[in-house]
Amino acid sequence: MVNDILLVEDNPADAKLTMIALKQCNMANKIVHVQDGVAALEYLFCEGEFSSRSINDHPVIVLLDLKMPKINGIEVLEKIKSDERTRKIPVTVFTSSQEDPDIQKCYDLGVNSYVVKPLVFESFNKVVLELGLYWVLLNQSAK
């Protein structure tokens, strides 16, 4: 069974560009895109529209934006990493913010990786590609 890639991103343009880039990896994994923190948690904890999922069905990677409406990325991260059932899921924060407080807070909460979205599209594309390849093909997740 191939696990999903969970993309948590509120900006449709950024989301689209990310998915296009990930598709270039030619991986078999399905890319699930949710637009806010609430939906992300519903997916991970198998609630709401995702109640048919199994909670042990961990995504291979969660690409998590920080600045989102309703629940922001930091809260989502906290919920993921504080729950026994989900805390081993690899999470990469993928955000425009280079602010030190954000970085510190994420690592305090146990994030697996923190990547700043490049300004220029070419770099952006390249970075997403590398992230995809790394987490899907290289990284060994806990089963």
Binding site: A13, S96, E99, K117, P118, L119, F121, E122
Partner: protein, 476 residues
């Protein structure tokens, strides 16, 4: 002091009084004794003419009424004693008058001698001599001196009393008030208050003084709270500016990236359905979004300069310029083939990081704008004179012999007509085709130097090159 003066005055008065009294006493004595002598001499005319000693003696014995007359004698015209009188219990006395004397008065020792001639029809018959004691005078004088001393003592006492009164009711409260004023002046603590004491005017003075202190204290507190308010306002404004900068950074970038990304997708994937016009449109979209990104970065860097605290120290300017050059060459978009010379530079008191950026911007400009020349040359140096501006553009800070550094190139130069635009934000004097750039470099240079309290200016001639000068004030 005043006590002494009044004592002296009182003493003088008493002395004058006693002196006058003595004089008066003597005069009266002389007058009255003279009168008596005259009476005696008149009464003794007959006695002496008829050589009647007993009668004369009887005359003299009447002198007993005048207590002060101790001895008296009637002398004949030859000077021999004709009759004499001696007061009871006194010693006898022999008079020795001159024969040709008028009524005479003599004061010898403590005795008064009166000589009154006895005459009849212009003929001198004899002399009445009287010896008067002045002992009662002594008694009077000592009495008066006694009263005088007593008065002096009273005077001293009264003086002290009055002085004490003045002191405690006037002088001491005033001195205490003065002391409080001095204490407050020294400590600047306007909370203390004077003791309200004394009467009338002193009282009023103390109360008015305290009122004034209260006013000062109140004003102090008002000032302080106003300063606190203002500081809070400034802090708020600063924080707002910071979050504004952050917003610029974060929120403006995402759409930009999207524009870039999707136009790239179009270019990559849909060129076959685009004609030349379409492809060129896409190119413009791409380029402009790149530029926008640069502008955002530059603006952010520029605004951050205003907030950062400057940390000054003595900096090796030559080393700094070398570092800046390295960074320009390493990160620059092009290879530069210029001949670059950096002279030995004197150390300056400044923030190394910020001034490094100044060198980076100036050197980068110099290289960029001379890159089209056949033999591009860039020279970084120092001029010892304090003010060698050829133009008279106003300085932001008064010049007081600061160090003047320069970066000179032989590049394309700029038209001095547009000098006033040179340091403007995003102001450029050349097109993007000629030379790339956002026009923020010099704005940053000016901001950094101005924040150091220095001056920056430039000179140029078209096609010949430009020289950019900046000065940094010396350490105070």
């Amino acid at each position: 002091m005043q006590v002494l003066v009044s004592m002296i005055v009182l003493g003088l008065c008493i002395a004058a009084f006693v002196y006058t009294d003595i004089k008066g006493f003597k005069e009266r004595k002389i007058y009255s004794v003279n009168a008596i002598a005259h009476v005696i001499s008149t009464n003794s005319v007959a006695a002496i003419q008829f050589l009647d000693n007993d009668a004369a003696k009887k005359n003299l014995s009447q002198l007993i009424v005048e207590d002060d007359i101790v001895n008296a004698s009637i002398l004949d015209k030859k000077g021999n004693t004709f009759a004499s009188y001696t007061k009871q219990q006194a010693d006898s006395f022999r008079f020795a008058p001159s024969l040709n004397g008028d009524r005479k008065v003599e004061l010898l020792g403590n005795y008064l001698y009166i000589y009154s001639p006895i005459e009849k029809d212009q003929e001198r018959l004899g002399t009445v001599c009287l010896r008067v004691q002045l002992s009662s005078l002594d008694k009077i004088v000592s009495e008066e001196l006694g009263i005088g001393s007593f008065l002096l003592i009273i005077g001293v006492g009264l003086s002290f009393l009055i002085s004490f009164f003045v002191q405690s009711y006037i002088t001491r409260p005033l001195l205490r008030l003065i002391k409080i004023m001095q204490t407050i002046k020294g400590s600047g603590d306007y909370k203390s208050r004077a003791m309200v004491e004394g009467h009338d005017e002193i009282n009023t003075l103390s109360m008015e003084f305290n009122d004034m202190l209260s006013q000062i204290e109140k004003r102090d507190n008002e000032m302080e709270s106003r300063v606190k308010e203002r500081t809070a306002e400034l802090e708020t404004a600063n924080n707002e500016l910071e979050s504004f900068s952050y917003s610029v950074s974060h929120d403006m970038r995402a759409p930009l990236r999207a524009v870039s990304g999707f136009s790239n997708i179009l270019t990559q994937g849909y060129s076959n359905v685009l004609d030349e016009e379409g492809k060129e449109s896409l190119r413009f979209i791409r380029n402009e979004s790149v530029r926008m990104g640069q502008l955002i970065d530059d603006l952010l860097a520029f605004s951050r300069l205003g907030k950062k605290d400057i940390q000054k120290s003595m900096v090796d300017m030559k080393a700094l310029a070398d570092e800046a050059l390295q960074e320009v060459l390493n990160t620059g978009p092009e290879k530069y083939s210029a001949e670059i010379k950096i002279d030995a530079l004197p150390a300056a008191y400044c923030d190394g990081n910020l001034v490094r950026q100044v060198f980076i911007n100036l050197i980068s400009n110099a290289l960029k704008y001379s890159s089209h020349k056949a033999h591009p040359m860039v020279h970084v140096g120092f001029t010892p004179s304090s003010d060698n501006r050829k133009n008279n553009y106003p300085l932001t800070h008064p010049v007081s012999k600061p160090a003047v550094y320069f970066v000179k190139d032989n590049g394309v130069g700029f038209d001095m007509k547009y000098y006033h635009k040179l340091f403007g934000v995003f102001q450029r004097l050349h097109s993007q085709e000629e030379f790339k750039g956002t026009g923020i470099g010099l704005a940053i240079v000016q901001r950094v130097i101005t924040r150091h309290g220095g001056n920056v200016w430039a000179e140029s001639a078209i096609k010949e090159g430009s020289t950019f000068y900046f000065s940094l004030p010396s350490a105070k």
